[in-house]
Amino acid sequence: MGAPLRLLPGDSRGAAASFLGLLAIIAITIPILNLAVPASSPLHVSTYATALIGKYLCYAMLALAVDLVWGFCGILSLGHAAFFALGGYAMGMYLMRQIGPRGVYGHAVLPDFMVFLNWQELPWFWYGFNHFPVAVVMMALVPALLALVFGWLAFRSRVTGVYLSIITQALSYALMLAFFRNDMGFGGNNGFTDFKDLLGYDLQRDGTRVVLLVCSAVALGISYLACRAIVASRAGRVVRAIRDAESRTRFLGYRVESFKLWIFVFSAVIAGVAGALYVPQVGIINPSEFAPINSIEVVIWVAVGGRGTLHGAALGAVLVNFTKTYFTGALPEVWLYALGTLFVLVTLFLPRGLMGIVPLRAAALPEPVEAK
């Protein structure tokens, strides 16, 4: 009986099943309500709503990634937006190459902004992005490599706590400045827009949007399961041990930095994939995605949802963003008051986030242990 000894309260089987069930419902009903139900019906889900939900799912994935490193490993990353944006840029580069001669200037190979800046040929780092498989690999590989190099440097030197948070922020900020430069070859401030199609499917078509939504839901589900599997494994317990007592873990013979590194890299990959799915759904990627404030917002989604519970993080992301969407439309003049107050209230009255409402039965009471 090699079952995991115990899970954190929020990650019980029931919670996981409900979460995945909810995802499945979204992935099945939204397409039907959008495509099959006529627009006149009250049950019809507009493409606008479909795109919104798709975006929320990508944010939920990003929140999951942040929760994995912060909630479980205690690494407060204020730079995860960078991985998200890099994944997005990889997808953006593919989509730009897909435009081909349909650009404003009609150049067969070069994207418009390069034609415009008098670039004569494609820079080397754009090679291969016209092939979807290459782009897919890059969506995961680029964030992973950055996380690997950065994490290796930081964890090896035992940079911890706020110092780590601030240098992740510095990383994201430096990348933002770099991508803002027009000379970098990523379109500067305008970034990439006006995408035409993905794998030959018109991005503006409702069907494509629905497929993207389903892909996002599936990716979120897989990420959730993967994160849950990691958290439930012995490695996951080591990771939580690191969060609670880092040097104790070290004295038990675990190479703390290598655990942190792999978790960080894995989390970066999830963030990258989330970014890649996000870009075709919102239709633009530009350097402001790297803005440090974005990373802070992700941390806030996780905190609102409930740090240290995977589905809590995901639901937090959806909830905060839904609130934001609603307020910016309904109360455009005062929505910052509402959102700001919400953050304060959640912190004061729900210290464990919205998931803290769940009674902490598992933590408070002895539980029969299966390992007999």
């Binding site: 029931g14 919670a15 409900s18 979460f19 909810l22 939204i30 309500l33 009250p42 049950l43 019809h44 889900v45 507009s46 493409t47 606008y48 709503a49 795109a51 919104l52 939900i53 975006k55 001669p101 349909r102 650009g103 404003v104 200037y105 009609g106 034609v115 415009f116 800046l117 008098n118 803002f180 430069r181 027009n182 500067g188 401030n189 305008n190 970034g191 827009t193 006006d194 995408f195 991005l203 503006q204 919102v282 239709g283 633009i284 530009n286 402001s288 639901l315 959806v318 909830l319 839904f322 609603y326 910016t328 439309g329 455009p332 003049e333 929505w335 910052l336 919205l354 998931m355 769940v358």
Partner: protein
């Protein structure tokens, strides 16, 4: 289990998104207002939101349009570019607005462009921009580079005798394009490459000491030097403050800006800046009856006697009037019909003359050069004799020299006159 409550909450949320907005739409004509009310761009865009609300108010007092009242749908895209696209989708798909007035930055316009083209919406874009675009669904009521930058440089070259040029900009598309156009133009006028210095700084650049010192050095070579500034937004105030402190007066090295107007000047102490220049199609100080009336209406509407007016506000004024006229001509708010009625329509400018909508969806505009006064207003020191037609595709750039936009006869936003092919963003 609390999760159930979540499912319920999520379900409610979905329902809220899915339910079509109150189907009272027949009673009113909805006008979308897509300007950032928070974030970095709120500083410029909030005024434009108020301008449109004022215009709608006025129109409703006159009985609305086609016998229906106008209703503003205001959203806040919060200076967040993906959010612009999302809000545009909301306005077009959910709120079913007849027209949208909005955007300031080029990137926000680029972000919403596919949404407008897909949903066949209508956007009035009121800000001077870099050109190189003409969409079927966008009416560009701000200046193209040939309606602002080129006349300004002409003025400096001919009237002021400037021989050396610093093109100082924020690193994004508008300055890059404008400077490219200007560089090509200056070189064509016989200015040596060594006498042109181009430099870019990041957004929100706050410490200008080094750059201003460099400009001072560049300008101390003994020949008349001017700075053509395409510095954006927040970076302007520290730039001008540093200019004043390093004692670069307009009499020595004048700075001509394309993004600094009355509203920007109201946010800083203008006294040390007296004499620096701006090129616009409108100045509050231009004294015409129409302008006086507009200014007094604005001050009454906004309830602040010291609020200024500016060029993008006039662009919205023109844009709104053009749209209203087109709706009345077409007797419908249907976008296709309005778009068909729009080209060729004329409406008076606030500063005199008429704005005519060209087939390329740009306007004819007068160009004014103003010098900053101590009170934050501008003295017009030069203006074009007539109006200048907006050019969507610059004639000074090799990539777009042969491109033309014409939505009346060619029905194309970028038609290559050499290859006789219509390609690009509206390619089907």
């Amino acid at each position: 289990m609390k999760l159930k409550q979540f499912c319920v909450a999520a379900g409610l949320a979905l329902a809220a998104l899915a339910t079509p907005h109150a189907v009272l739409a027949q009673a009113t004509i909805k006008v979308g207002v897509l300007h950032s009310l928070s974030g970095t761009m709120a500083i410029s865009e909030t005024t434009l939101k108020d301008t449109i609300l004022m215009m709608i108010d006025e129109q409703n007092k006159k009985g609305g349009l086609l016998g229906r009242k106008l209703e503003a749908v205001v959203v806040d895209p919060a200076s967040d570019w993906p959010l612009f696209a999302e809000k545009a989708r909301q306005l077009l798909e959910r709120d079913k607005v007849a027209v949208v007035f909005g955007c300031w930055t080029s990137v926000s316009r680029k972000s919403v462009l596919p949404v407008f083209e897909k949903n066949n919406g209508l956007l009035f874009y009121p800000v001077q921009y870099e050109g190189e675009e003409s969409s079927k669904n966008v009416i560009y009521t701000g200046a193209a580079p040939n309606q602002q930058a080129i006349p300004a440089v002409d003025y400096l070259m001919k009237e002021v005798g400037v021989q050396r040029w610093v093109l100082e900009g924020t690193d994004y598309v508008y300055p890059r394009t404008t400077n490219k156009v200007l560089e090509a133009y200056l070189l064509s006028k016989g200015v040596k490459a060594a006498d042109i210095s181009i430099n870019y700084t990041p957004f929100g650049h706050a410490d200008w000491q080094t750059r201003v010192a460099a400009i001072k050095r560049f300008g101390s070579a003994g020949r008349k030097t001017a700075v053509v500034s395409t510095i954006n937004g927040d970076a302007n105030v520290p730039f001008y403050k540093e200019l004043a402190n390093q004692k670069i007066s307009a009499e020595d090295i004048p700075v001509v800006a394309f993004s600094v107007g009355e509203e920007e000047l109201s946010g800083l102490d203008a006294k040390p800046l007296v004499g620096h220049l701006a090129a616009w199609n409108y100045f509050q100080s231009v004294s015409t009856p129409a302008n006086k009336e507009f200014i007094s209406k604005w001050k009454t509407y906004i309830k602040k006697p010291n609020r200024t007016t500016n060029d993008p506000m006039e662009a919205h004024f023109i844009g709104f009037n053009l749209w209203a006229k087109a709706v009345e001509t077409a007797k419908s708010t249907d976008v296709d019909k309005v778009l068909a009625a729009l080209p060729g329509l004329e409406t008076p400018n606030l500063t005199g003359g008429v704005a005519k909508l060209l087939p390329n969806h740009h306007l004819t505009k007068p160009v004014y050069i103003g010098e900053v006064r101590a009170d934050g207003q501008f003295d017009v020191v030069w203006k074009t004799t007539g109006t200048v037609p907006g050019d969507a595709w610059s004639d000074f750039l090799p990539v777009s020299r042969d491109t033309e936009a014409d939505w009346v006869t060619l029905k194309c936003g970028n038609y290559n006159t050499k290859t006789k092919v219509c390609s690009g963003q509206n390619y089907k």
